[in-house]
């Protein structure tokens, strides 16, 4: 088990390396010209050359990539900038933003909090509602509750996040006045629980709806399959009460595949939820990444891509290890 985890972590480092290289070279394969951006309004050939020299955009790509990676490989971090704007950037160093000169590591650290609360809150919401609704539907298969939940699920899946988000803002904030306008100060629970929930409740609902619908369908299908299994008949033949049959024997088996998908979904979401963050002005990784892409801000693009990739790959490892604990038939080696 220990060996397995170590091997998977080493694999993860390799994958992240590959992703960093692909992102870096793809960026330069586009017509993006960061020097032009930095150079600003009264730009001329001389200024451009100056910028290119001071940022090292003149160097061969492989040298630039090596310089960037040195901040991640070297445990001491690296020194940034030329004379006048020199600063130390400690490990893990992701360089400085071309737009605002802030160290990317710091920007990401600031953005991770809101994204984390947004993603985990929404995940809890869709997991609980999806599994509950799916379970009820499976147990009342063919009855009105089942039809209602299947209908709701269809509605949820087909309702675009973009529309739902703005609709909620309009109804609850603008027209209804039931919730305050979003204030960044409330984006962490340290601001007090009530403002925290007021800040996140609409984003959670927006983000959770699609997955809640998917999880409803998934739980329902798994549960119906499981309740037809031989071991459920055995549990009944033992004389167990229906509650034990459903929860201890049925749900346990039906939820196993959902654990896998939940881990991967949550991992992907921790990289940032672009649309939801934008609608509700949450300063998270999604907003950071969309801003950096629009601004040709290579170091920030690299940073958010690496962080998002880390969450996805890491979630994969967690799910695989977790699975071995849930399903004794899976042995890791």
């Amino acid at each position: 088990m220990f060996n397995y985890i170590v091997r998977r972590l080493l694999q993860m480092v390799l994958i992240l390396f590959a992703i960093s290289a692909i992102t870096f070279f793809l960026f330069w394969a586009t017509p993006a010209n960061p020097a032009l951006l930095i150079c600003g309004k009264d730009c001329n050939t001389e200024r451009i050359a100056e910028v290119n020299a001071s940022y090292g955009f003149d160097d061969p790509l492989i040298v630039q990539y090596g310089r960037y990676m040195s901040g991640l490989v070297n445990p001491g971090g690296r020194e940034l900038g030329s004379e006048g704007s020199q600063e130390h950037c400690s490990w893990p160093c992701l360089d400085r933003s071309l737009q605002n000169g802030l160290q990317v590591t710091d920007s990401i650290a600031d953005a991770i909090g809101p994204t984390f609360w947004l993603a985990t809150g929404a995940a809890v919401l869709w997991l609980v509602s999806g599994v509950l609704l799916g379970l009820l539907a499976a147990l009342r298969k063919g009855k009105w509750l089942d039809k209602l939940s299947v209908g709701l699920a269809l509605f949820g899946v087909s309702f675009p996040t973009l529309v739902l988000g703005y609709l909620l803002v309009f109804v609850f904030i603008v027209k209804g006045g039931l919730l305050p306008y979003p204030d960044q100060a409330n984006s962490s629970p340290s601001a007090g629980l009530v403002p925290f929930f007021q800040f996140y409740i609409l984003p959670w609902v927006t983000l959770a709806l699609v997955n809640a619908a998917l999880y409803t369908r998934l739980t329902r299908a798994n549960m119906i399959d499981t309740m037809n299994e031989d071991f459920i008949r055995t549990a009944r033949a033992k004389g167990l009460g229906e509650r034990q049959v459903v929860f201890k024997h049925g749900l346990r088996a039906a939820l196993t595949p959902i654990v896998t998908i939940f881990g991967l979904d949550l991992g992907a979401l921790l990289g940032g939820a672009v649309i939801t963050e934008r609608i509700f002005s949450i300063q998270g990784l999604g907003k950071l990444s969309i801003d950096s892409v629009l601004g040709n801000d290579l170091p920030v693009v690299m940073g958010v891509v690496l962080v998002a990739a880390f969450f996805v790959v890491f979630a994969n490892i967690v799910v695989d290890v977790l699975y071995a604990f849930i399903d004794p038939r899976v042995r890791l080696s």
Binding site: D230, G239, E242, R252, A253, D327
Partner: protein, 357 residues
């Protein structure tokens, strides 16, 4: 209740057989489906004494497993329509309340299933599954139940039971799993044990061990056993009484010896003819032509008539129009459901069937 089946001379519809431990009387099980009403069991009757073993044989879809699930009360709460009476030790099970039936299940009546790999929960330890079966019906501490589980694993011949207690089903071999399944069924000392194809998923050597084990345990506990199978070899080794089912009805019933040596129903002849024999030379095995009947549209009259080779022995259209009654043969418990008169059947068997077996 339908009148065709309930007037069978073998099990008169009047007084119950008071000595019987289990008596199934005119049992009907139907499943409404989108394609129509599936008549899985149509007027089934048989009885069983304590310590006795009854074999139920028949093709797939003859109603064997549906019958066993009806005795276990496992159709309750499903869409199945169950009619008739099932008397177990003085209690009527068909009309019994769900909660009462639940208390009998796994306790007084328990069941061994066909494929022990899929019939045991893959995520729980073997031992814990046994303990669970005991704790439902016995108000004891977990430690007592655990000791009982280890004892039972030992009884069914699982080596070092205390350590195998902690194994999961997938860590057991097929034969071991079936032993564990038997141990689980026996946790509460059931008076009636229903074994639904208990050895079908096992290879032949293991099969013999399992059957021996069941025989030994029966002697020890004096429980009644119903063994459901399509393997006549298993029946010969285990059962004293035999019921041959076809299309949800009994077509022949009696002592195992009677049916093996003096079978009277053409379907039973077909079953016996399809057993491979060591002395049989290189001839191809005989199969019964055609396929089992649709339970939605059962053939009229004798349900076996489309596949029967001996219809010309019955004058007129009786085979197609009338359901034959299950009639006793010469005052013995042996009975068959066929329009051909018994002396004629005996002659056909000795002259045409027996030489070919």
């Amino acid at each position: 209740m339908s009148t065709t089946a309930s007037t069978e001379p073998v099990q008169p519809s009047g007084a119950r057989d008071a000595s019987a431990f289990l008596e199934v009387r005119d049992l009907h099980v139907r499943f409404p489906t989108d394609d129509g009403l599936v008549r899985a069991v149509n007027g089934l009757s048989f009885s069983l004494q304590p310590g006795e073993t009854l074999g139920i044989v028949g093709e797939s879809g003859s109603g064997k497993s549906v019958t066993s699930l009806a005795i276990m009360g496992l159709h309750k709460g499903s869409r199945a329509q169950v009619e008739g009476e099932i008397w177990l030790d003085g209690d009527e099970l068909v009309s019994m309340r769900v909660e009462e039936m639940r208390r009998l299940r796994g306790n007084k009546v328990s069941m061994i299933f066909q494929d022990p790999l899929s019939a045991m929960h893959p995520f729980y330890k073997i031992g814990d599954q046994l303990v669970e079966a005991y704790l439902v019906h016995n108000d004891v501490s977990k430690a007592v139940a655990k000791k009982r589980a280890v004892d039972m694993l030992d009884r069914v011949g699982i080596p070092s039971p205390a350590s195998r207690y902690h194994d999961y089903p997938h860590q057991f071999s097929g034969g071991m799993r079936q032993r564990a399944m038997i141990a689980m069924a026996l946790m509460c000392d059931p008076r009636l044990l229903i074994a639904d194809e208990p050895t079908t998923a096992l290879d032949v050597t293991v099969q013999a061990q399992i059957l021996d084990l069941m025989n030994d345990l029966q002697k020890e506990f004096n429980s009644a056993i119903i063994i459901i199978t399509h393997d006549l070899g298993v029946v010969a080794q285990m059962a004293q009484k035999l019921v041959v089912m076809y299309g949800g009805r009994v077509v022949e019933a009696g002592d195992v010896r009677d049916i093996f040596y003096r079978p009277e129903h053409p379907y039973a002849w077909g079953l016996l003819g399809s057993i491979p024999r060591i002395t049989g030379g290189g001839d191809r095995l005989k199969s019964i032509k055609g396929s089992p009947p649709s339970l939605i549209n059962l053939p009229t009259g004798c349900p076996f008539h489309p596949r029967c080779d001996f219809r010309d022995k019955v004058p007129g259209d009786a085979c197609v129009t009338d359901v034959p009654e299950l009639l006793q043969i010469g005052g013995t418990p042996h009975a068959a459901r066929c329009h051909i008169p018994s002396p004629e059947r005996q002659r056909l068997f000795t002259e045409q069937i027996k030489p070919a077996l």
